[in-house]
Every structure is written in C-alpha cells, then in structure tokens.
C-alpha cells in the first residue's frame, strides 16, 4: 500500500481510538477511572482546538461551558443520591439546603431556600443532561452573537470570555443556598439511564466516555472538512476578505463557538460521572488557561493533537503527583514546556508529527504521491 498524507492521518485517528477502546485490557479499575477523566480533558482539548485553531477565537473562559455542563448533571445526581432521599420528605432535598434553610420553611424543593424551586426539574436525570448541553450552547450563542456582530476579535474576545467565566464563578459562590458555594456539589448518586448504572469505577463508565470521545473526535474532524468548516478557516485567516466575499461571518463564528461550547458542556457532564463532584474551581481562571496549555502543547491546529496533548500532560502529571516534591517540580516543567512550546513549537507536538509524516511520505511514498496532493491537510 502506498503511503499518503491523508492515509497516515486516518491511521493516526484509528490507532488512537483503538488504543482508548483497548485500554481496559491493561488498566485496573483505579487507573481506568483516572484515565476516563483524562479522556474528558482530551475532549476539552478538541473543543479548544476547534475554537482556537480553526476559528481563531482564543476563549479563556472555556471553563464556563465545562462548569455549566458539570453543574447541570451534578444537580440531577445530587437529587438522586441516598442522602438527598433520606431527608425525611417525600421528594429528595440536597443536604446543604437544609443547613441553609430559611427558618420555618417547608422541607420541599419549592421553597426551602430562595430559588430552590429551580432544582425541581432536575429530579429528572434527562433534564440535567439536557441542561448540561443546552445551557452552555445558549450562553455561547448569546455571547457569540453579541461579540461577533460587534466585530470584536483577538484579545478582546479573550478578555470578555475571561471576565464572563470569573463573573459566573463569583455568582455561583455567592448563591450558597442554591449551589453550596465554595464547597460545590459532592456526595452524588450514580447516573442510571436505560437500566445501566454508571458507577465511575466500572468499565461501562469508561466505555461511555471513550466512545463519546471517539465520536466527538470524528464528528469534529468531519465538521471542519465541510463547506462551513472551510469557510470558518477562511474567516480565521482573513475575516475581512470573507466578509467581502459575502459570507455572514458572525453566523459562522457563532455556530462553531456554540459547537465548542456543546463539546465542553458534554465534557463537563462526563467529568462529573467519572469524578463524582462539581465545584466552582471548574470556573477558575487557571483551569481555563490550563486547557489552552494542553491544546498549545499538543498542537492548537490539530484536533487529535490537542486531544492527545491534554491526555498526555494529565497522565504524566498523575504519575509524578504521587510525591509532593515531584509535583512542585512538575509545575516548573509545565511552565517551562509551555514557554518553549510557544516559542519554538508553535504548532505543538502535532507539528512535530506532521513533519515526521511528511518525511515518511517523502521517503516511502515517493515524490509523485505528495505532488498528487497539493493542498496541505491539517492532521
């Protein structure tokens, strides 16, 4: 078989997806649970690569969408936990609401704390899942329509998204009777849908996450190959030219911004299933920037690269974090790796892989094969 660039790209996806699906053969339950969290972070890498690499939107508030998704499902799972069911009322009540209850308030979701009625629909798990995806998309749509219609670009988008996520975090912490403030939502029940119970340490949870990641990867990859995806890249390279060609630039930008938000929201849902908590730290500035770090090291222009970057960095971090001294040293390495990656490897590890791929194709595939493919494809 003759080696081609797109053939090797496809091979990379196939190998990666095969690896994550076969991982349960190697890892024990404890590591599988850890790995499933890192796959979720890989999904965040995909979301970042889509908005940053393909749309040119450096969103420093990706944690907002992740956090909204996480809280959406966590509220449902909180109501499904055994402690919420055992508060001496007909309907489940989160334990922290009793601690924050108004004096004399009825022990019911309708009125135990101000605003607690917002929790009522979350008794249905499907509502929590839907909220975890719809809410991020709605926020992204509103934000995107405002920003892109006003032709706000570059660093101003970063400042706005950063401010929005910090604003949301403050409100979340402030609304203590509704969200348990700084402590976040812990002691969650397991998600049970269609008769399957998703215990975070059981293989079914891992498979759900791994298959989700594979689908998100492939879906995103196909999406950027569509006509809209190509127009999006044209907008990234020169938005004025795209505008003069008659494209409705804000609509394309807003659409992909929403897709990125939906992926992040879904990642938030899966993360809660694997880690059994939701916390305001998801909306910390440092977490949102850390996601960008993963994508930058893995390769901002590469969907698979950003995904692998996120997974690799977190796996290494988990291995070294066993000893506290190494953990501190690891942060030095991360800082240094980030500076060096930005300075010397602006295309990240994926850039290295692309260079290697082109070298192999040139050696093995012959010059004719590379001439037949004039357009350089992104891996």
């Amino acid at each position: 078989m003759r080696l081609t660039k797109s053939g090797l790209n496809t091979a990379a996806y196939v190998v990666f997806i095969a690896l994550i699906l076969l991982a349960p053969l190697v890892f024990d339950a404890f590591w599988l649970n850890r790995l499933s969290k890192y796959l979720v972070f890989g999904m965040l890498g995909v979301a970042i690569a889509l908005s940053w690499g393909y749309a040119g939107i450096l969103n420093l508030g990706q944690g907002l969408f992740f956090g909204l998704g996480a809280y959406g499902i966590a509220m449902s799972l909180k109501l499904a936990s055994t402690t919420s069911l055992a508060q001496g009322s007909d309907t489940p009540i989160p334990d922290f609401m009793l601690w924050n209850a108004q004096p004399g308030a009825a022990t019911d979701l309708c009125c135990i704390t101000p605003g607690s009625f917002l929790w009522i629909p979350f008794q249905s798990v499907w509502f929590g899942i839907a909220a975890g995806i719809v809410l991020p998309v709605l926020v992204a749509f509103a934000l995107g329509m405002i920003m892109f219609r006003k032709r706000i670009s570059g660093v101003f988008i970063s400042i706005i998204t950063l401010s929005v996520v910090l604003l949301m975090r403050l409100l979340l912490v402030q609304a203590q009777p509704l969200t348990n403030g700084f402590n976040g939502l812990t002691d969650l029940g397991y998600l049970t849908v269609l008769g399957v119970e998703f215990d975070p340490y059981m293989p079914q949870t891992y498979y759900l996450i791994a298959i989700s990641l594979a689908l998100v990867l492939l879906g995103t990859r196909l999406l950027v190959e569509t006509r809209s995806g190509l127009i999006l890249q044209a907008i990234r390279d020169d938005d004025r030219r795209a505008r003069f060609l008659g494209f409705d630039v804000p609509r394309y930008q807003a659409f992909f911004f929403c897709v990125s938000a939906a992926i992040s929201g879904y990642a938030g849902i899966l993360y809660v299933m694997a880690s059994e908590f939701a916390s305001p730290t998801f909306m910390d500035l440092s977490f949102s920037i850390t996601m960008v770090v993963w994508a930058a090291v893995g390769g901002r222009n590469s969907i698979l690269g950003a995904c692998i970057g996120a997974i690799l960095i977190n796996m290494i971090e988990a291995t070294v974090s066993e000893t506290p001294a190494l953990m501190e040293a690891w942060r030095v390495v991360i800082g240094l790796a980030f500076v060096l990656a930005v300075l010397f490897l602006p295309r990240g590890l994926a850039g290295v892989a692309t260079g290697l791929r082109d070298w192999i194709v040139a050696r093995r595939g012959g010059a004719a094969a590379s001439l037949a493919e004039p357009a350089e494809k992104r891996s």
């Binding site: 604003l167 403050l170 001294a325 501190e328 030095v332 930005v342």
Partner: protein, 297 residues
C-alpha cells in the same frame, strides 16, 4: 458618604498602581504580559526580604523592588517577549508560562527546596510586612476616620502616575515610545531604535508593578499566588480605559474603584467584584476600543 468615596479612591489607587505598568507594556507594545501580577508578587516579597535581612522599611524597599522587578522584566523581554512581537496572543500564553515559573521559583526558594534548604521569607507559606508606626494610624476629616496608609497609597499612586506622564510626554524616550504606540513600522523607519525603547518600556512597566507590590505588602498577606487576580484587574482597567491611553487608564481605574466601593457598601465584596466584571464586559462590548482610546484602525 465621605468614607465610601475615600474607600473607592483607595481601591482605585491600588488598581491604578497595577494598571500603570500594564498600560505601558500592553499599550505600547501590545504585549499581554500575564506575568505582570508576578512582578507585583516579587515586589511584595522584596519588601518582606528587605525587612527580614536588611532591616529596611517599606519606603526604602520601594526603589529596591523597582530595580529587582525592572531587571526581571528586562530579562523576560529579552528571552521571551522579543521573539513574539507580532504574535500577540502567543505573548499571553508564553508569559503565563513565565508566571508559573516565577511562582514556583518563590514557592521552592529558587529550587533550593529540593536540596532541603529553605530560605526564610520565601516558600509556599504566607508572609507579612509590618507598617512603620507613622503609617499605621488613622486621622479624621469631617468626622470620618481615614487610614493613614490608604492615604499614603493614594499619594504614591498619584506621584507615580505623574512621573509616568512626565516620562511619556516630556522626555525624548517618552516621545519615541508614543511614536511606537501610534505606528511601530513608521517609528522604526524614522530611525527610532524600537527594540531598545520596547525593552526600556517593558522594564519600566515591570518596575512600577514592583513598587505596587511593596505597597500591597503593607495591607495584604504576601503569598506566591497573589499576583493572578491582580493581572486580571489590571487588564480590565487598561482595556476599559482604552489601549495606549495613559489618561484612559487613570480615569477607568477611578471609575472602577468608585463602582467597587459603592457596590461593596450597598452589598458585599463578592457582589462588588461581580459588578466590576459586568461593567467591564458591557463597556468592551459597547466600545471595544475602550472609553478613551484615540488609536484608530
């Protein structure tokens, strides 16, 4: 009422201290220096170290902090930022990495922690600086008690703003810097050594952050992560004021300080901070170039 206005003024002066340096580095070069907050942190640690090892007070620590942070700023410009001119968003990411490195350097006592050596005054813990007695008390104006140290901060920030204004508008270097702000290529074509001026401006901006850090050390706990929220505040001020406008930064610091003070008086500090974010988001959406920007497309 007087005390609310005074608190607002004092919050504004702290914002201005952090934002002044950013107004120069971001305004002049478009470099988004995420390590700016770490410069404030280093300034604060300089105050801690100066009192610990040299027995110096806050006032004497200010010039030292200026020199230390200016030197570090110069090094960052030479090693990292200089290679990234023209890749603005990348400066944000690279300096974030630098910020992590600086935080770890302090937390690990420059790496000596690995050898089991800890340097007093550094490390992951909290540090404090005591105020000299003459800065500690309160005085009363029109029946309102006003903190001497808060007034001192307002005074220093006004002086530094005046000094920065003088440097930018009344010296040759300042004129060259303003030329670069307007149009870097044209400035270079006119014979301005843009590299030298950029490096000087970066060092000066970092130095200002160092002085801000010393003043912060007087009323805040000093710890390795203290810089991160400050760089956010600083950017909010600069972006709202308008990139490249010194007056804009000063006015927007004043506005945000007063809003913060008022909102905190009516509700609480968290709500006040949320209000600040909301105001800045609204302003950027309404006027993406900032309230007082003169720079056209």
């Amino acid at each position: 009422m007087v005390d609310t206005i005074f608190i607002g003024l004092s919050l504004a002066s702290v914002l201005l201290l952090v934002a002044l340096g950013l107004a120069i580095t971001y305004g002049a070069m478009g470099v988004i220096n995420m390590a700016h907050g770490e410069m404030v942190m280093i300034g604060a640690y300089t105050a801690v170290m100066a009192s610990l090892y040299l027995g110096l007070g806050l006032i004497a620590a200010m010039p030292i902090a200026f020199l230390v942070t200016a030197a570090i700023g110069l090094a960052i410009e030479r090693l990292v930022v200089r290679r990234l001119y023209g890749r603005l968003l990348d400066t944000l990411l690279a300096t974030w990495g630098v910020a992590i490195l600086i935080q770890q350097a302090v937390r690990l006592s420059f790496g000596f922690a690995f050898l089991g050596i800890t340097i007093a005054g550094l490390g992951p813990g909290l540090q404090n600086v005591s105020l000299p007695p003459w800065l500690g008390g309160v005085f009363s104006v029109a029946g309102t008690e006003i903190s001497v140290y808060r007034s001192f901060i307002i005074l220093v920030s006004v002086l530094l703003a005046a000094l920065t204004w003088f440097l930018m508008y009344r010296t040759s270097i300042g004129m060259q810097l303003r030329a670069i702000m307007r149009n870097p290529q044209m400035a270079a074509a006119c014979g301005i050594d843009t590299r030298r001026i950029n490096a000087l401006a970066f060092a000066y901006g970092s130095g200002l952050a160092g002085v801000a850090g010393v003043l912060m050390a007087g009323f805040k706990t000093v710890f390795p992560d203290m810089g991160t929220p400050m760089v956010v505040d600083g950017f909010l001020v600069v972006v709202m004021g308008g990139v490249g406008s010194l007056m804009g930064s000063i006015l927007s610091a004043a506005i945000l300080g007063q809003i913060n003070g008022l909102a905190a008086a009516v509700s609480n500090d968290i709500i006040a901070r949320a209000v600040i974010f909301a105001v800045v988001i609204a302003v950027i959406i309404w006027k993406p170039k900032g309230l007082f920007s003169y720079r056209g497309r």
